[in-house]
């Protein structure tokens, strides 16, 4: 936590870096603020790219490999941009008992992607989660943040097929920058 250390300049003009900086400042730029900081990068930009990891490492004075090791350990962090829509299938025990696997299979068949992947056109990301806390509504699916319960595969696919597209690129979908 040396006060002397010069902080690296912000990677670019993007205002969202200020949010990231605020998190680090609140934690006194201590090395243990790494996970909090990665959360704030992901909240601001939607994912962690190389530029942001370099910036965080330099700001907190941490080795690059350590930052990368932490970013890849935790499943909530993603190093790839997400699709414009997201569909999270809950695979907690209650949902599993009530057929979450069939939903995952159905999505694989329809969109040719596995959980954790995004369709090539960037339209949809399919994810799984360990218990979204809607066990009473099992099997539960979260589409763009909205929890939907007791869906079967045809219902789900119909909902996903009717999601609006194309739409303006949302804030969380920053094109990956390569400058560093």
């Amino acid at each position: 936590m040396s006060l002397e250390r010069a902080k690296p300049p912000l990677p670019d003009e993007d205002k969202r870096w200020k949010l990231v900086n605020a998190t680090m400042r609140r934690n006194g730029y201590a090395d243990h603020a790494l996970i909090e900081t990665l959360h704030s990068v992901q909240d601001a930009f939607g994912f962690l790219d190389e530029t942001s990891l370099h910036f965080v490492a330099a700001s907190l004075d941490l080795p690059l490999s350590k930052v990368y090791g932490v970013a890849t350990f935790y499943h909530l962090f993603t190093l790839k941009p997400k699709g414009r829509h997201s569909c999270v299938v809950c695979t907690g025990t209650a949902c599993y008992i009530k057929g979450a696997n069939a939903l995952v299979e159905g999505l694989r068949e329809r969109y040719a992607i596995n959980p954790g992947e995004t369709t090539e056109d960037g339209h949809l990301s399919v994810l799984t989660a360990r218990c979204v806390g809607a066990c009473g509504l099992a099997p539960a699916v979260v589409i763009d943040g909205e929890v939907l319960g007791r869906l079967d595969t045809p219902d789900l696919i119909e909902r996903l097929d009717t999601l609006p597209d194309p739409e303006p690129t949302p804030a969380s979908h920053r094109p990956p920058t390569t400058s560093h």
């Binding site: 370099h54 690059l64 990368y68 890849t72």
Partner: protein
């Protein structure tokens, strides 16, 4: 466990290991005391001079009166302790753990530059692993030859993190770390870029010397030629200890 700091008054304790009475400083680990007394306990992730990791689980021993097993490298001795290091149960577990390691990646000894000088191979011979009953995981990993002096072959890595620890604790570069989770863990340099492109690697080669297998080797060695030299470690360890 924090690195042992020299204490002004460390007590000396006596304990029994495999039926032999031995004495030890109370800040020593069971494994250290075994080594002093030439009692061989298999180990892979532990290396004198580096911090304790406790990941390979080959050094598990039995303690009288305790239901569970203990990792000798991570357990301090205590007065009156009764340790068994070589029971049938422990030998059985060690064989299985080694089999798990062989099946996890791809260790083809006959074409490895470390053939004959590999700790994994030596352990397998010592513990009597002559064949692997478990199915192979069959995951293929890349080989990184981008560094002008060294080469990294993930297929021969046992994830002992010796390279990570020596680079951080002795060389102070922290070029290495581990990414991912579970069997998909990989050792990485910087941001998982090619080793040759690393901006922090000092090319000191310590990671290569401490790597127990043929995962980290010198470029240009051929089958069976890669002999590792870890003499710098105990010396450095002692110096650090005294500092």
């Amino acid at each position: 466990m924090p690195p042992a700091t020299p204490q002004p008054n460390v007590r000396v304790v006596t304990l029994r290991i495999d039926g032999r009475d031995v004495s030890a400083r109370e800040d020593e680990t069971i494994l250290e005391v075994c080594r002093e007394n030439r009692i061989e306990v298999p180990s892979l992730c532990q290396l004198d001079g580096l911090s304790v990791w406790g990941g390979c689980r080959l050094c598990m021993v039995e303690l009288a009166g305790q239901g569970r097993l203990f990792a000798a490298c991570a357990t301090r001795v205590a007065e009156g302790m009764e340790v068994s290091t070589n029971t049938e149960r422990l030998r059985h577990y060690r064989r299985l753990i080694l089999e798990l390691l062989f099946a996890e990646r791809n260790h083809v000894c006959s074409v490895c530059v470390s053939n004959g000088h590999c700790e994994l191979q030596a352990l397998a011979q010592r513990c009597g692993v002559d064949h692997v009953r478990l199915p192979y995981r069959q995951a293929r990993y890349p080989v990184d030859s981008s560094h002008e002096m060294f080469r990294l072959d993930h297929n021969r890595c046992v994830l002992c993190t010796r390279c990570v620890r020596v680079c951080d604790e002795i060389e102070g570069a922290h070029t290495w770390d581990v990414m991912g989770r579970g069997s998909d863990c990989l050792v990485i340099t910087d941001m998982a870029q090619p080793w040759g492109a690393s901006g922090t690697c000092t090319s000191c080669g310590k990671c290569v010397q401490v790597c127990p297998t043929g995962a980290l080797v010198k470029q240009g060695t051929s089958v069976g030629e890669m002999v590792k030299d870890q003499h710098f470690l105990p010396i450095l360890a002692r110096r650090r200890h005294l500092a």
